[in-house]
């Protein structure tokens, strides 16, 4: 049970970390370039709407059974929430704050990293929270295609009609999701307090 929870957390946190490493810099670069941002966002949105089982089925054909297929699916779904929340967070910064940063003559990268990124941080955290919750739920389906974690426990429980395994798997997923939600909410509260005037 503990090892299944650890594997589930590892699967999800790796996916969210990879998605953040891709989506966050892309959003920081594209937030002020709507001509490129819109089609990029549309592609991520389209991927997000693909049903998860269908995506896993396609990935299994290419990559094979196991954690790699699950990880790719999790990253694909997490990208959209993180990208959109970062872009929205930067665009929601009050005009006068952005203008002051411009008027002070801060170089573009410094404006982004020192002023805009911290001010957008609460919105980015919201995206990370949604991406993490989505990953925790979706990773359970990964058990169907040979992924590790609580999904494996649940699908084995289904196959063996083992109620104890099913209950353990379900409670484990609920516990991880609740902890993640509460943790992110707490960090978000602190971040909003820090960035509010």
């Amino acid at each position: 049970m503990i090892s299944a929870i650890a594997a589930h957390i590892a699967l999800c946190s790796t996916a969210v970390a990879i998605a953040t490493a891709i989506a966050l810099p892309m959003a920081l670069v594209l937030a002020d370039r709507p001509i490129i941002e819109r089609p990029f966002s549309a592609v991520l949105g389209a991927l997000y709407t693909v049903p998860s089982l269908a995506l896993l089925a396609v990935l299994v054909q290419w990559v094979g059974l196991g954690n790699t297929s699950v990880e790719i699916a999790l990253v694909t779904y997490a990208l959209y929430a993180i990208f959109r929340s970062t872009v929205a967070g930067i665009r929601a910064i009050p005009f006068e704050q952005r203008e002051i940063a411009t008027a002070l003559g801060l170089p573009r990268w410094k404006r982004r990293m020192r002023v805009e990124l911290p001010l957008a941080f609460p919105a980015i955290l919201s995206g990370l929270r949604i991406a993490t919750l989505g990953s925790i739920a979706l990773a359970t389906l990964g058990g169907y295609v040979g992924g590790s974690g609580l999904g494996a426990l649940l699908f084995t429980g289904f196959a063996l009609q083992n109620r104890a395994m099913l209950v353990q798997g379900a409670l484990g997923v609920v516990a991880i999701a609740l902890c993640s939600e509460l943790g992110f909410r707490a960090i978000e509260r602190v971040a909003r307090l820090r960035t509010s005037a």
Partner: protein
């Protein structure tokens, strides 16, 4: 031998027309500001006074004419380095909520590449100059400051990197009226000490008359009048300026008396 221009800032037929607008936001504004001079710009809301200010640091682009700082066309130099030489403070201050007072003050010096020790010394110097104890206020976040303290920090940030020009857009507009005269007096002291050329936008006629070395009146994007407060009150050049600056007979008398008081003091 190079000859310094007699002015620190010059607007030469500067015009602004926003995209899609039928009329000019600013139309053929020509004026000069001497080194160390404080020029107040007064006008009603929507008159174009803030636009005039924002042209000087290229937040707003001219559609015609030119602006020179120390004889150099501002369009001919790189935009971010230009802005680092121009202090800017606005109503409501514009301090960044997530940065401490010291971090807010350090932004421009850091961008200029000053060494850390020099930045720290200058922050303490500027805080002391605006009457805030560095030991107490350095690490405070803006939300832990009163309106007056935040305004002082805003002025300190605008002046920290020895700007060639200071732009102030209604800096005391959001400040408690009881505190305003004290902040105005402090600002004058700091500016005189630093000998910083300043454009000060306000819609408060008294503030324009009693702070400025000269006053410029803007109306519907045009410069209606410019001159010393004394000249404006004694010989307003047109009926609009007379109406705006002098008011009724009683108010006119009061303003002339207050100005005489100020002239005697200085």
């Amino acid at each position: 031998m190079s000859v310094e221009p007699p002015y620190a800032l010059r607007f030469d037929r500067a015009s602004v027309r926003f995209p899609g607008a039928a009329t000019f936001a600013l139309e053929r504004i020509s004026l000069q500001v001497e080194p160390g001079e404080l020029l107040t710009i007064v006008g009603a809301s929507g008159s174009g006074k803030s636009t005039l200010l924002r042209c000087a640091n290229r937040l707003v682009a001219l559609c015609d004419g030119r602006i020179e700082i120390d004889g150099i066309d501002i369009e001919s130099v790189a935009i971010d380095p230009l802005r680092r030489t121009i202090g800017y403070a606005i109503q409501g201050v514009g301090l960044f909520a997530h940065l401490t007072v010291a971090e807010n003050l350090a932004l421009v010096p850091e961008a200029l590449g000053w060494p850390r020790a020099r930045i720290d010394t200058r922050i303490d110097e500027m805080l002391a100059r605006v009457r805030l104890d560095p030991a107490i206020y350095r690490k405070r976040l803006p939300r832990a400051l009163s309106g007056g303290q935040a305004q002082r920090v805003g002025i300190a940030r605008a002046l920290i990197a020895y700007p060639r020009l200071l732009l102030l857009d209604e800096p005391f507009g959001a400040v408690d009226p009881i505190l305003r005269p004290q902040l105005q007096a402090e600002l004058l002291g700091v500016l005189r000490e630093a000998h910083t050329t300043t454009l000060f936008v306000t819609h408060d006629v008294d503030e324009a008359l009693f702070l400025g070395d000269r006053v410029a009146v803007i109306h519907e994007g045009r410069l209606r009048a410019i001159g010393t407060p004394r000249a404006m009150l004694d010989r307003p050049p047109d009926a609009f300026t007379a109406d705006l600056l002098c008011g009724d007979a009683l108010l006119h008398e009061y303003r002339r008396d207050r100005l005489a008081e100020r002239e005697t003091r200085s």
